[in-house]
């Protein structure tokens, strides 16, 4: 009976085996799920933390799969239909509506759920200290080698001293008088030098010139803060924002387009993105201590300043304006207008501010001296493209100067009163 039944069931077994194989082939793909999660869900959901929507780790355990399918595909309808669970979650999140994803197939949702349920193996965590070891070792060995060398040299000096001493003792013991020959008395070098007026003159001239040079260079750099790199209250990395994330400069410094000030962005501008980006997941620079935790902590500082409560995802109203340290300080008697350079002339921000997209910490790239301004005005042509203001004056002036394109200087950009009033 058993045997029979077994035999009888064999084809079925094979079939089921094959089927299970097929099923195994359709096992939810964590990698695909991650991609889908990042594309569709990450704007509002985090894995282990509440964001705009709830944390999604282990969500499949909380809800029925079918319920999840229909919720993800059309949550509004479910709320309307009065589904108890749907209404509960709708109310918990103050009536914010979850975007519907009718384009997602059930398999896609399975993949996403697989990703949200996935727990990475613990081994990865151990990698970090291991990576750190060789570094400390190498610096240690360098020190060691140097130490050993110093010791060897010291030993040699001692040995030489001992050898001469011994030789002298031997000589004394053998009765050999070591006679130091009296050399004919020569004028000491310094006296000879002092007696040579030409040499003295040359030296004095040299000293005077070099001290003048040193003094002049010192004085000329007074008040020039090229390379000034102050520590800011919040470690804001232009490298991450403008470099890695390619955010346009004028997205944050928007007034540079229209006003004389480029403006430090107000904190509400930061929150346009950081309402959703609560933690840093990009590259780390462990050597300098810029770990993920470090950056995430800086985002927390922003939240504190702007009064954003991550748990409730709402503003508390308690703000602490940030006192940024100003890097580019022009004196009061200079008028500089960002809009004229950025919008009218079309100058790149980097021309004056340097490779900002590579700056982990912002610093003053240019000297910001008057000579620096004027040089650029002498070299740069006026951008007359599509600007009716310049049509007449550029035509007449270029004819007068006999050039095709006028420089800013020829346009009057060197006149004192254009910048000093």
């Amino acid at each position: 009976m058993h045997k029979d039944s077994f035999l009888a069931h064999l084809p079925l077994l094979i079939l089921s085996f094959c089927f299970s194989f097929v099923v195994a082939a359709q096992e939810p793909d964590v990698q695909k799920g991650k991609a889908l999660f990042n594309a569709n869900c990450a704007a509002c959901h985090k894995l282990n933390k509440r964001a705009v929507g709830p944390a999604l780790a282990g969500v499949s355990a909380k809800y029925d799969k079918e319920w999840l399918y229909s919720w993800i595909k059309n949550s509004t309808a479910m709320v309307k239909s009065g589904d108890a669970q749907a209404v509960a979650i709708y109310e918990e999140y103050n009536g914010s509506v979850m975007t519907s994803f009718p384009q997602l197939l059930n398999e896609d949702i399975d993949n996403i759920l697989a990703y949200t349920d996935y727990t990475p193996p613990a081994t990865a965590a151990a990698a970090q200290p291991v990576a750190a070891v060789p570094q400390t070792e190498s610096s240690l060995s360098n020190d060691l080698i140097l130490g050993v060398l110093v010791l060897v040299l010291a030993a040699l000096v001692v040995m030489l001293f001992l050898v001469t001493k011994t030789l002298k003792q031997i000589a004394a013991a053998n009765g050999i008088e070591v006679v130091i020959e009296e050399k004919p008395k020569r004028t000491p070098l310094w006296k000879a030098y002092a007696q040579n007026p030409f040499l003295v003159f040359v030296t004095v001239v040299f000293l005077l010139l070099s001290s003048a040079y040193v003094g002049y260079s010192y004085l000329m750099q007074v008040g020039i803060d090229q390379g000034y790199m102050p520590i800011q209250p919040i470690h804001y990395s232009h490298k991450i924002h403008a470099g890695a994330n390619q955010i346009e400069c004028k997205y944050c410094h928007s007034s540079a387009r229209v006003s004389k000030h480029s403006g430090i962005p107000s904190l509400n501008v930061c929150m346009n993105c950081h309402m959703n980006i609560a933690e840093y997941n990009g590259e780390e620079d462990l050597e300098k201590g810029y770990t993920k935790e470090f950056y995430t902590n800086e985002i927390k500082k922003l939240y504190k300043a702007v009064g954003w409560d991550e748990n409730t995802q709402s503003y508390t109203g308690e703000t602490q304006p940030v006192k940024w340290v100003r890097i580019h300080n022009l004196p009061d008697f200079v008028y500089f207008n960002h809009a004229q350079h950025v919008s009218v002339a079309g100058v790149d921000c980097q021309k004056c501010h340097g490779p900002v997209e590579e700056m982990e910490i912002m610093y003053q790239h240019a000297s910001l001296t008057m000579g620096w301004c004027i040089n650029c005005h002498r070299e740069t042509n006026v951008n007359i493209k599509d600007n009716a203001y310049y049509t007449k004056i550029h035509e007449e002036l270029s004819k007068k100067y006999g050039v095709e394109k006028l420089t800013a200087a020829q346009m009057g950009g060197l006149e004192c009163g254009k910048c000093h009033y």
């Binding site: 007074v222 008040g223 803060d225 102050p230 007034s255 229209v258 006003s259 004389k260 000030h261 403006g263 430090i264 962005p265 107000s266 904190l267 509400n268 501008v269 300043a305 702007v306 009064g307 703000t319 304006p321 940030v322 006192k323 940024w324 340290v325 100003r326 300080n329 004196p331 009061d332 008697f333 008028y335 207008n337 809009a339 004229q340 919008s343 009218v344 599509d386 600007n387 009716a388 203001y389 310049y390 049509t391 007449k392 004056i393 007449e396 002036l397 007068k400 009057g412 006149e415 004192c416 009163g417 254009k418 000093h420 009033y421």
Partner: protein
Amino acid sequence: MPNQKKYWKSEVELNEESTLVDKLSQKEFVQKLPEDLLGSTELPESDTSRRDFLKYMGFSTAAATLAACEGPVNTSIPYVVQPEQIIPGIANYYATTIVDGFDTASVLIKTREGRPIKVENNTDAPVNNIANARVHASVLSLYDSMRVQGPTQAGVDVSWETLEASVQGQLAQLADENSPVALITPSLASPTTSQIVRDFQAKFPNVTHYAYDAISETAALNAFERAYGKRALPSYDFSKSTCIVSIGADFLGDWQGGGFESGYAKTRVPKGKKGKAKMSKHYQFEANMTLSGANADYRIPTSAVEQQFVLAAIYGALTNQSYPTALTAELKKKVTAIVAELKSAGTGAVVVTGLQNEDAQRAALAINKVLGSSVIDVQHNTQLRLGDASVMTQLVNDLNAGKIGGVIMAGVNPAYTLPNATAFVSGLKKAKLSVAFSMKNDETAIHSQWVAATPHYLESWGDVEMKTGHFALTQPTIRPLFNTKQFQDVLLSLTGSTQSYDDAIKAYWSSNILSGASFSEALHDGYFVTSQIDKLRYNDNVDALVQRLARAKAKSGLELHLYTKTGIGDGQQANNPWLQEFPDPITRVTWDNYLTVSKADAEVLGLKNINQSDGALDGSIAEISLNGTTVKAPVLIQPGQAKGTVGLALGYGKTAGMKSEMQVGTNAYPLYQNFSPVQTVMVVAADGMHEFACTQLQNTLMGRGEIVRETTLEIFNTKDAKYWNPMTQVSRDHEEIDVTSKEADMWQAFDRSIGHHFNLSIDLNACTGCGACVIACHAENNVPVVGKREIRKSRDMHWLRIDRYYSSEETFEADLEKVDNISGLGESLSTFGKMEDPSANPQVTFQPVMCQHCNHAPCETVCPVAASSHGRQGQNHMAYNRCVGTRYCANNCPYKVRRFNWFLYNKNDEFDYHMNDDLGRMVLNPDVVVRSRGVMEKCSLCIQMTQKTILDAKLEGREIKDGEFQTACSNACGTGALAFGDINDKESEVKHLKEDERMYHLLESVGTEPNVIYQVKVRNT
């Protein structure tokens, strides 16, 4: 030559023996280096040798240099949430309205990063759209460090809740006792406030509302009420005038609220075809020399009694009646001539009077009715002045009799402005409740139980009916700086309403004024006009009262004419350093009021003016007594002051709630008895001399002639321009050539035909000398206030000055000849008598002078460090950071327009004005640098404004239209005297003005080719 008038600026110039004029003309900087640098007037004996001094100086310089090497750490604090409208670096403008009970104007407020920094004219508004000097300065009063910062009770800070609850309780109790409560406000003309007050009175029926004007127009109001049946004042449109006769009305000053100069100036520039050009004619009868008198074609100095005769005579002649008056034959002749002018002038004729005499006011209304004047508009009348003097007098009596239970005051300062202020204060103390809504701890506030801190008008809501059918709105331009609350808000909450004042305005406007129009639009524009019009009918007979006028008798003693000065007005803004330092247009005196006396009277009374060798002015002190009240004031001998009269300005001598530096002058309000500005007083000389800070004899133009050019309408119409506006000639190879011709020019000229070339045209005909431009320049360019002591040393910093020149018909040399030719005692007496004439009634010309921006600038060539250089656009640039302070440029400037920073005027306790406190510095314009010590400065032709216009056009990629280029002064000028623009734009107004035959340059013969041009003054004589 057509114009051989000699111009002079002071009495002392008439004295040929005086060496002072010569001395001053030799020196630009009259003073030696100050010895009282740090306040101590003498150097104490000391052991410190010169060597020691140099050592210390060397060390301290080195130390300071080293200390300066370390740059300061600047922090920037951005908004947490940036308001949508605010972009750092870009100014926002808001339309609002100032109504402070004395000045009323529709204005635009320029704000930067949320701070109001400048007042500008709201030229779109149809009425009262020109801000005067005080309104321009009002933005600084917002940042007054002496403001009350919150409500107080007996000097102790309380909360608004406490104040409102207690006051409400007390009011309820007073209502139960049926004890009267007086609510005193200035004439607000605010429809919504009137409604709020009515509601307040409905809740507390024992409350009476008093409108109180510090400077009363009671007589004019009574007269109008009598003639037309409504308590109001008519409006005047002087742009329709062809012949103006003013009898004691300073309508270019503060007469009936002021604001008439823009209409007036329109008719004062000759217009029409060559040969047939027309302008209005202006006769002025007055005692004090006023702005109106200074601008008149004929000014006839007369006492108030004579003015009444003139009024009676004019009325008689117009109605063919005879009113025998005691007028002199000379005046009678003049009146006859004037009446003929009036008759031929048609509806453009108008007679106005400032006599605070109901009879005179009614006579003037009757005369205008007879003339059929279109200048006066009774159907659009104004209630900006409503105060009734007799009611106020009664109130003070009632207070002292203990009949008044409570007093609530808002925006008034009766303890200072009432003639019987001491009686008022003693009465106020008898009241059970006294509340003062005030911005300052002023004379009234310190005697009140409660001081309710009110906001400045730039932090307030409000509305006003300028004249019938013309409404305007006030809106806040900044969040209140202090814990203040508007008087209307408190009244609303005392009434038990939960509405705020702005909601109340909105509600009232929606239901009563707007008739469906948008409130937001009205708020945006700042004004709203309805077709509403009064239908008043004239119903008066004045024959009997003209009889009374004709029989008026002069009392023995001197006639005192109280007036308000262009700078200080009624004294509300006395703590405003800009206004204190503003030179009076007529006397050019700053930081003071004074008794103006005619030269003849001064001699009789033994009063003197002495010009010190450094150009400073000292004056005797006079004691003025009236009914037992005695006031001491310094004396200023005023050319043109009517004999037998003296003048004294109100608004000075305030002490409460004022910085010590601002407590200057004499309080003349005690002499303002019965609210009459004309009083008969006794004047005697007192001991001592007063030191004036007068800019009058300073910076003389060194006797170089042809500064003011002037001609008459007749010559202007009949003769060639070469006759009345000749080009200065120079001799070349014994041949006369124009000084502007190429052969006479030694300079290598720049080509200025490409791009912009700015010119500023100044029309001497349209300039009334009002001084709004001077204050606007201060506000725009961060010009420091230097104080009385420095002004006295000729160290004033005004970039723009308005020179005032007196002139007489003949030259002074002719006078000398006369003296030489005298024979016999009888002739000498009569001749000497006549010799007084030039200064008895001079003609006056105002001439705004700022840096002339010479194309061939003498200042540029002498600067050793090239701090002064020329721009292609015609402006003379001044790079402050380059200047080392040699002052060569000032010495080489023929126009004397350069100003030197002798001290650090900001953050310096020695100069405790607005730039010395954080609050006051908020008014600074961030686009203009604040100059430091040791630096020369001057007018830049508002290069920050011309650059802004250019940069905006570049940003928007468009060409610039005429009218876009402006300077602070041309923007502020309400009379059109200052016109600014680009002469390379062939269609621009300024290009036409440059080619006008009235155009001339100041000191053409110097060959500086200035970019500031003047238009010859034409008098309609």
